[in-house]
């Protein structure tokens, strides 16, 4: 039997007080301290994520300066419309995520569920569109490997374009993997929310997944211009 069960029967504590006692881990002084610790811990994790993606961004930057012509040629195979739509999809999913956190803080379970489902749906829409793009690259033999073939039409070595595509798939692939993990986390939140785990006094998991989801949006905010836009009007 859970320790708060006796309290609930005997002392007639208000529900919010029971929720606090149930969710407060013994090594924290109060809910406030516990929440600040979660937030800081999540940010430290996100900082390591920033450095992880930062390494790939640095590699991309150096190669673009070294193999500029090949980089322009590779970049111009990207479909800007699809990239732009996906950017909008992610921005909308960030809004629905922030609304899910807001609803959870107000203790509105129904709205929390609706916004979590919308976020999940937009996440899958993003992955679907990304899948269409990957398929086009696959069909055009633009996936690095034995089957790689690039129409050579400029002052560069086609193998340099293969390096561009390697980084393109590494960066967007790692980004997509983060989205898939995010979809898993959203599903977990949906189940916990349906079981009534969150309340105005305890909603840190929703908020932490929110931070993660926005971080994934943040990475895409830089991937989109770097991969799709900046070489659009340049000559390779």
């Amino acid at each position: 039997m859970h320790p708060t069960m006796g309290l609930r029967r005997g002392l007639k504590l208000p529900d919010s007080e029971i929720a606090v006692q149930h969710n407060l881990k013994h090594h924290f002084a109060d809910m406030e301290q516990q929440k600040e610790t979660s937030t800081f811990g999540m940010w430290v994790f996100l900082v390591t994520e920033i450095m992880f993606f930062g390494g790939m961004f640095a590699a991309y930057l150096i190669y673009r300066l070294s193999y500029y012509n090949a980089w322009v040629a590779g970049s111009q195979t990207m479909e800007i419309q699809l990239g732009a739509i996906n950017t909008a999809v992610l921005i909308c999913s960030s809004l629905t995520m922030v609304m899910a956190v807001h609803s959870a803080k107000l203790g509105n379970r129904k709205l929390t569920a609706i916004f979590l489902i919308l976020t999940l749906a937009l996440g899958f829409a993003f992955l679907g569109i990304k899948g269409v793009e990957y398929h086009t690259h696959w069909v055009h033999h633009e996936v690095p490997g034995a089957d790689f073939h690039f129409e050579h039409a400029g002052n560069y070595d086609p193998r340099q374009v293969a390096i561009f595509f390697s980084l393109y798939f590494a960066m967007t692939g790692m980004h997509a993997m983060h989205m898939i993990i995010g979809a898993g986390l959203l599903t977990w939140l949906l189940i916990a929310n349906a079981r009534g785990r969150f309340s105005p006094s305890y909603n840190s998991p929703v908020e932490m997944v929110g931070l993660y989801w926005h971080f994934v949006d943040l990475i895409w905010i830089y991937l989109f211009p770097l991969l799709y836009l900046i070489s659009h009007h340049h000559n390779g």
């Binding site: 940010w43 450095m51 300066l65 922030v98 836009l229």
Partner: protein
């Protein structure tokens, strides 16, 4: 720390709309021939978007000083990573040693 100040739904919708407008703007800017400025314009817009997401969606504006320090440290080390790596690569041609990456 402003005690328990929290952004309102209105703020979220305004940030969302700004992000969409900035996305349209950056796509439009890519259709212009600006030479090296294309990258600078695109990355400036991206950074404004990133700041909007960080400050309002991720509520950094309302976070504790400790959290802000962690994020600023990340940005600092990211600059260090890009800055020092580029200062190496971009100056290799200046070296009087034989450069294995160029020959």
């Amino acid at each position: 720390m402003s005690e328990h100040a929290h952004p309102t739904v209105k703020t979220f919708v305004a940030v969302w709309a700004s992000l969409l407008v900035l996305t349209a703007l950056t796509v439009f800017a890519a259709t212009l021939e600006l030479g090296p400025l294309n990258a600078i314009v695109a990355l400036t817009i991206a950074t404004i978007k990133a700041l909007l997401v960080l400050l309002f969606f991720m509520e950094l504006r309302y976070s504790t000083a400790l959290t802000k320090v962690a994020v600023v440290a990340a940005i600092f080390f990211l600059m260090l990573l890009a800055g020092l790596t580029l200062s190496d690569y971009l100056t290799r041609g200046w070296s009087s040693y034989i450069n294995p990456f160029l020959h």
